[in-house]
């Protein structure tokens, strides 16, 4: 039994099936990476887990509790935190205020030290660079046990990427991470467990090695994803 069990999750928007009986399991302490093409349903999956969308059918069970119909802010308080693709932080609050708001259980100062934010603690959210925003967003999400991170690397310089990898490694020591990642090298580097989504369905799930060897995934999918 993993920390998060998703079973037969289904979600439609109008006539479009965004998720079609998606099942997956996340083991505590491991890092799970979701890969899949544009429109495969990755962000919808995150939205359903975190309560932004209610699934039409299926269950999301977190630490033994069914949260599939729990509103988002309660899910967050139970320990599932997320970041957004648009790299949301509070623009009109300082870095420190941002992080203090997000920290219920963790120590904001430690979070800021971990993510090298002490230097800029009094900068307003709106004046941050992308990499700084990403770190603040990460700190906002870091308070839970299960962190759902949506494309943490996109838009970063090649030089900033290793630093981000280190932050994720540090977080992964104490937390369970779930990532959406486009870059397949990075995905395989980080992952203990890979889930391949395609058109709302799970195409394959396993360790990076298993996924690389999976003929079906390889053939249908990995080729295009690699680039």
């Amino acid at each position: 039994m993993g920390i998060l069990e998703v079973t037969e999750l289904r979600r439609t928007f109008g006539g479009i099936i965004a998720l079609d009986s998606v099942s997956l399991s996340v083991t505590e302490g491991e890092t799970t990476v979701i890969i899949g093409a544009n429109g495969a349903g990755k962000t919808t999956l995150f939205n359903c887990i975190t309560g932004y969308h209610m699934p039409d059918d299926g269950n999301v069970v977190f630490e033994g509790t069914d949260i599939s119909q729990t509103p988002d802010y309660k899910v967050a308080r139970m320990g599932i935190r997320r970041t957004f693709q648009e790299v949301d932080v509070f623009d009109e609050l300082t870095v420190a205020e941002n992080i203090s708001l997000g920290a219920f259980q963790s120590n904001p100062r430690e979070l800021m030290e971990l993510l090298d934010l002490m230097e800029i603690h009094d900068k307003l959210g709106e004046s941050l660079t992308l990499f700084e925003r990403k770190r603040v967003a990460l700190a906002l999400a870091a308070d839970g046990q299960l962190l759902l991170l949506d494309e943490v690397f996109s838009g970063l310089d090649p030089a900033e990427k290793p630093a981000m990898l280190e932050y994720l490694d540090a977080l992964a020591e104490e937390k369970t991470l779930m990532l959406i990642e486009h870059d397949i090298e990075t995905a395989f580097d980080l992952a203990d467990n890979v889930v391949v989504l395609s058109q709302g369905r799970v195409l394959g799930q396993g360790t990076p090695e298993e996924i690389k060897e999976d003929e079906e995934v390889q053939e249908k999918y990995l080729g295009e994803m690699a680039l």
Partner: protein
């Protein structure tokens, strides 16, 4: 280091932070307003006309401060501050005239009634969600309040008159300068409340609500709550302001609290600067004082032109208002974005 208690629940967290609020800030702001207000006293005594304008400035300063709480912090474009104020005024007047209750009691009940109506407005605004629709719905609500009072035989188009002067126990404020000092005291109190709200976790969460509800939900807060608190608090201050207006003037009519007053309050708040402490006061001085100066120079009633032009110019060229603009240039004046509960203090 209040945030570090690993076991703190959400609710305790809030309380801890509110209790840890640095009271020096609100006290300093209140003292600042008090001193500024007292400096004007000699002018108030010197001329009846100046006194009259000063009373208006104070009352609109109070009401605009209340309105600013809902506009500035959670960014809710509620368009019925005049309705909330007139509710406070009517309730307080009726209680005083018909039941003979003391002013302090009627004032409070007036404010509370406005707050209760405000909670209904807030709930509707939360449900409706879209900014534009909130504007229209609250505009319509304000009209309904106007029709209801006009049509109600206790109030009617001619309104209520003959309510007692403001008083506090045995102290009755009859002369202009007495009323000025009393109103100033209320404004000082309101400034204190607004500053405390701004520096509290609650105020910060209200700002966060106005900025990004989705993000706020993702870190475990329910934005509806902070919208509600802001509107109710603002409505309470507006209701108090309306009650003061009624008793100081000795007359309250539904027609005196319509869209015109809402626009006036709006322009005061926007000109001064949304989400600033002193903005509404600066705005009131300018928007009440300036037209009166122009009028006293014999130019006739130019207030609508001044209001209209100010709205257009501020929106086009100075979106953060005067106090907000000063803040942008000089930093730490007013509430420079530093919260008392910030954890490294």
């Amino acid at each position: 280091m209040s945030s570090s208690e690993a076991t703190a629940t959400h609710e305790e967290e809030l309380d801890v932070d509110l209790r840890n609020l640095e009271w020096t800030e609100p006290i300093r702001a209140a003292a600042f307003v008090l001193v500024g207000g007292l400096v004007v006293v000699p002018f108030v005594i010197s001329s009846n006309y100046v006194g009259y304008v000063a009373l208006l400035v104070l009352m609109f300063g109070i009401m605009a401060s209340g309105y600013n709480i809902m506009l500035g912090w959670p960014n809710l474009l509620v368009f019925c501050p005049a309705a909330l104020a007139v509710i406070g005024g009517v309730v307080s007047s009726l209680l005083a005239i018909q039941m003979g209750l003391p002013f302090a009691v009627t004032l409070l009940i007036g404010g509370l009634t406005a707050a209760i109506v405000g909670s209904a407005v807030a709930a509707s605004a939360i449900i409706i969600g879209s900014t534009f629709e909130i504007v229209i719905a609250t505009l319509a609500f304000e009209q309904i309040v106007y029709y209801a009072f006009t049509n109600w035989d206790r109030v009617g188009p001619t309104g209520i008159s003959g309510m007692p002067n403001p008083s506090l126990g045995p102290l009755v404020f009859t002369s202009q300068v007495e009323q000025y000092v009393f109103l100033l005291a209320v404004l000082v109190l309101v400034t204190f409340i607004v500053t405390a709200f701004d520096r509290s976790l609650l105020g910060t969460l209200a700002v966060a609500t106005g900025e990004d509800e989705e993000l706020l939900r993702s870190i475990g807060y329910n934005p509806s709550r902070y919208k509600l608190v802001s509107v109710v608090l603002g409505a309470f201050v507006l209701g108090i302001g309306g009650a003061l207006y009624a008793h100081v003037n000795g007359l309250v009519t539904p027609g005196a609290f319509t869209l015109d007053q809402t626009v006036l309050l709006l322009v005061i708040a926007v000109l001064g600067g949304l989400r600033t402490i002193y903005g509404p006061i600066v705005g009131a001085v300018l928007m009440i004082g300036l037209p009166e100066i122009v009028r006293s120079l014999g130019f006739g009633d130019y207030q609508p032109y001044i209001i209209g032009l100010t709205l257009i110019l501020v929106i086009l060229f100075l979106p953060s208002g005067i106090v907000g603009g000063v803040k942008d240039y000089f930093g730490d004046f007013d509430n420079g974005g530093v919260s008392a509960w910030a954890f490294w203090k």
